[in-house]
Every structure is written in structure tokens, then in C-alpha cells.
Amino acid sequence: MVGSDYMFKDLFRKPQRYITVRSDAMPQEKGTLWIKCPECGEILYARELEKNLNVCRKCSHHFRLSAPERLAITLDEDSFLELDADLDTVDPLSFPEYKDKLARAQEATGLQDAILTGAGAILGWPVLVGAFEPHFIMGSMGSVVGEKITRLAERAIEKKLPLLLFSASGGARMQEGVFSLMQMAKTCAAIARLNEAGILYISVLTDPTTGGVTASFATLGDIIIAEPGALIGFAGRRVTEQTLKEKLPPDFQTAEFCLKHGLIDLVAPRQDMKPTLARILSLHSDNIERVDN
């Protein structure tokens, strides 16, 4: 199923360091041996935490994952082939500080922009997969992210393979203005075409999925899964709190809140994600051949 135009890249190399998004949620600081769980305060041994898929063994808090980490725990070993790695992020508005911000994010994450896309397999089931990098300018969607998702959807139609996207994003990228807004429209239009072609699209919402990503392709999955405790919503919690000037319910905009209100299909703990995805893929496996490992 893999064409010769796929470019292989070593994706599972570890980024050198990370941008601070939420310092208490950043376990992967290089050289750190012990990490305090931001949820329950438990002191966790870094290596053990990683082995436990970055889930706190005491309270099951799901730490945020980088895009390479996400793909590494989801896909079969050595099955990932990156696509469209060469797209250059441009600064179409000559926006203040954007070029510097981009350069810093690229250096810190080792990625070109806020999403990794490619082909891979889950327990033998082939998929076209994308994972957001939450540490790249908040995983925001600008032109490159929108373009890579669109190309991935087009590829899914062409190859008749399922599409799987892991979102972790603050929303549309402010620094690219209306170009970013248009990526919402573009990715949704791509999903519309995917639907017409009868291609399965699984959307996994992870912490955090908000703003223009929630309000576009991420909520259009045939099946929508979320990780426990993930922040999922349209407007930021602070914005809502300021607008309403009232306290919000504690579970507001969590995966569980979305499940309760009928907005997603299921909440799957990280340990169950891979088998869950494999089961969904097998239930949609007409005309799809399982690849050998």
C-alpha cells in the first residue's frame, strides 16, 4: 500500500527539548528524573512514567504527548512513513515576532510545524495518520497544518485507506490571520469529500483540543474518541469565565463533559487506545488488507 513517493524519515527520534506550554504538565524535560503529577502531586519516576505511556500510576492523569511520542505508542514498530515533511511554513502577513516564534518552535520540537502526518499500521491495519504537536505554538493550525491534513485526506481517498487524526491544539493560528480561518473551511471540505468516497475517519481528541480545531475537522469524525480528562471545547475556559462572570462546573469542557452531552462516542484511556483503534479499523475492513509485521 505504500507508494514510492513516500519519504521515510526517522520520526521516533526524541526532540531535544520542549517549549513550555504548561510547566506543570511537562514531564519530558531532558535529564529530569522525577516528575510531580500536576493532578495528584504524586512524585513519579520519569522512566517509569514513560513506560506507563505517560499516565500517572496513582491518579491516571494523562500527560500531554509530543507528536512523535503519540505515533510511537500508537503505530506498529517501524510502520510509520512520514508524508509532506518538506512543506515550508511561511509568514504571509509579516506578523510581528512570528518568524522568531516559528524558529524557536522548530528548534525546540525538531518539527517543521505543528503536525506530523504519514502512513502507518495499527496491529496490522493500515491507516493514514496525523498527530498534532501540542508544544509547537500551542499546536495551532496555520496553512501548513491545514494543507497537511487536506493532503492526508486526499491520500486516504486515493488509496482507499482510513484516516486517523490525533488533535492537540489551541485552535487556529493567530499569526496567519484569515489564512488560518480558511484552513478550518478547507479541512472540513476535505472531510466532506472523504465522506462522499465512503472512507472511514477516526478523530481522537487529546488534551487540549479547542478553538478552530474543535470547530473544524476534529469534530467531524465518523467516530470521535477522547482521552480521559482532556480539555475539549470551543472557547477557552478563561474567556467563558470572564464572559459569564460565574464559576464553571468542574468537569466543564472535559472529555467526560463531552461524552455526557452526546458530543463524542467514547472516552478511551491511553492504555486501551491502540486495541480500540484496531477494533474500529477491523469493523471497517471491507477491501482493506492487513499488513504483516
Binding site: 490571520g177 478550518m184 473551511a185 469534530t219 452526546g262
Partner: protein
């Protein structure tokens, strides 16, 4: 006469008031000051040209948000006949921030959907300041699908600070409602023309903006976040909104230059709120032209062209 005056409007309005006073006075007293009045009127026109042809993005933002700026209901009144307002999303409620219905545009039945801000506090409270709820987006979707069934063109009016953010909106799936519109509008088999007549605020604006032609009124704005919000994030200072308005390239002329919109509808000198009829007249001309062109295209081709247009945005390589 305008009740709410922006700083840069004051000199013009003061001069115009003076001319009106003089005219009144000369009329009463039977004195002929025709030459003087002519000179003053020319000065007022020059002053207007000077001010309104050099507006900063922030000044345009203020015009775009002007409380007296014609809203969707005003344009519906001025541009469509046989208007039939339609309500509800058929699931949950009717969003007062969204107007929808069927009317005739120059004899042709069209579906109109639009975000509506109020012209005063009372109206704004009733219309939730033009902030759309999920049921509003779903009402739009319903009416657009209905339009497609009858091969009726759709005209959407965009004017919102943004989609409403609140507990009920989140519970109702605000993001899901917007995404569903983006997906459905991309494929609806009838011409869709979107007009940003005021404030095109982020995803809430985008949700009514997918179609075959995206037009902006000359002083309208369209942005991913409000200039105040942008300034707060960039410089931790919302009072730097004027600088943020520059940086975001949110005016009609800048967005046309970037290829993100398809056309600009000129406004009367002084802005749409100073001459709503004039503004509606210019919009009528533009709509007539675009509609005529789109009606020549068969629905399948229309959808394919719509996709190609969207597909090309932000794919520099």
C-alpha cells in the same frame, strides 16, 4: 444624523451641522448665501474624502462595529421583496442572533441567512450582541439545505464578534455546529454568496462564509481573533488593539490583496451608517453581477470550483 460619533467623524459632522444651520437660517430670513454654502459643502466633501480614504485598520474596525451600521435586517428590508422570515433549527430553539428566510432579489427567490446585531442596547440584549448559538448555526444549515432542495441561491450576511461562548453553547456543541456548517456549505448544490457587512469575527463568521463568493463591504473587518484579544496575547495589553488591527491584515483591501476574499462592495463616503440606502444600492449592484455569473454554472461544477478555490488557500508549495 448620527447619534453616536467616532472621534474621526466629528469634524465632518460638525461642519455638516453648521451648513444645515446656515441653510435653515438663510431660508427663514430670505438671505442668499448660496456661494458661501457651496464653498462650505465643498470643504465638507474634501474633508470627508481626506478622512475616509485614509482610514486606519482600527478606525475601520470602529466603523465596522458602529451601532448604527446597517445590519442584515436593514439590508433585507432594502434589497428583498416578499420577505418571509423562517424560524428554528428543528431540534432545540430559534436563535435571535440569526435571521433567516426567503425573499425575492430582483424577482428571483433567494434564501437569506444573517447574523444580526442590534442598533441599541435593548436590541443588542435581545439579539445577544450578534453572537451566534449552536441552534443559530443549525438554523442556517437547515435553511441552506432547504435552499438547495429548491435550487434557490443563498445570500449570507456576516456580522458577529464571534460565536457565543457560554456553558449552554458548549453543552449544545458549539464547535460541532460550526464544523458541520463548514462541511455542509462546501458541498451544497446551489450558489452561495457571503457578504461580511460588519464584523467578521473568527470561526463564528467563517461558519456562514463558505461559498462561491466572499464579499466584504469596504469598511467591514474579518479576523481570526478580535484586535483586543490579539493585543492581549501578543503584548499583554488590550489597549494596543490599534496596532493589532494593523498586524492582522483584517480590512477588505488587505484581504483582497492576499486573495482571501473575492470582492469589495464600496460604501458611501462616511461609511454605510451615514447612508444606508446608498450602501444597499452598491450591494445590490454587486449581488446582481455575482448572482448572474453563478447562475450560469451547473451545481456540480459549482461545488467543484468551490472546492478548488478553498483547496488553493494556504498551499504555497
Amino acid at each position: 444624523m448620527a447619534k453616536m460619533l467616532l472621534d474621526f467623524e466629528k469634524p465632518v459632522v460638525e461642519l455638516e451641522n453648521r451648513i444645515a444651520e446656515i441653510k435653515n437660517y438663510t431660508g427663514e430670513k430670505g438671505i442668499d448665501l448660496g456661494v458661501e454654502i457651496e464653498i462650505l459643502e465643498k470643504r465638507a466633501l474634501d474633508l470627508k474624502k481626506e478622512i475616509y480614504q485614509n482610514l486606519t485598520p482600527w478606525q475601520r474596525t470602529q466603523l465596522a462595529r458602529h451601532v448604527e451600521r446597517p445590519n442584515a435586517l436593514d439590508y433585507i428590508r432594502m434589497l428583498f421583496t416578499d420577505w418571509l422570515a423562517l424560524s428554528g433549527d428543528r431540534f432545540f430553539g430559534d436563535d435571535p442572533a440569526i435571521v433567516g428566510g426567503i425573499g425575492k432579489f430582483e424577482g428571483i427567490p433567494v434564501t437569506v441567512i444573517g447574523q444580526v446585531k442590534g442598533h441599541n442596547t435593548k436590541e443588542n440584549l435581545a439579539r445577544n450582541f450578534g453572537m451566534t448559538h449552536p441552534e443559530g448555526f443549525r438554523k442556517c444549515l437547515r435553511l441552506v439545505q432547504q435552499a438547495a432542495k429548491f435550487h434557490r441561491p443563498v445570500i449570507s450576511f456576516i456580522d458577529t464578534p464571534g460565536a457565543y461562548s457560554g456553558i449552554d453553547a458548549e453543552e449544545g456543541g458549539q464547535a460541532w455546529a460550526i464544523a458541520s456548517n463548514l462541511r455542509a456549505f462546501a458541498q451544497v448544490k446551489t450558489p452561495v454568496i457571503s457578504v461580511i457587512n460588519g464584523e467578521g469575527g473568527s470561526g463564528g463568521a467563517m461558519a456562514l462564509g463558505v461559498g462561491d463568493a466572499l464579499l466584504m463591504l469596504e469598511n467591514a473587518i474579518f479576523s481570526v481573533i478580535s484586535p483586543e484579544g490579539c493585543a492581549a496575547i501578543l503584548w499583554k495589553d488590550a489597549s494596543k488593539a490599534p496596532e493589532a488591527a494593523e498586524a492582522m491584515k483584517m480590512t477588505a483591501s488587505e484581504l483582497l490583496r492576499l486573495g482571501l476574499i473575492d470582492g469589495i462592495v464600496p460604501e458611501p463616503l462616511g461609511g454605510a451608517h451615514r447612508d444606508p440606502q446608498g450602501s444597499a444600492g452598491a450591494l445590490r449592484q454587486e449581488l446582481r453581477q455575482v448572482l448572474q455569473a453563478l447562475q450560469q454554472v451547473d451545481p456540480e461544477t459549482l461545488v467543484e470550483l468551490r472546492w478548488k478555490r478553498l483547496r488553493s488557500i494556504g498551499s504555497s508549495k
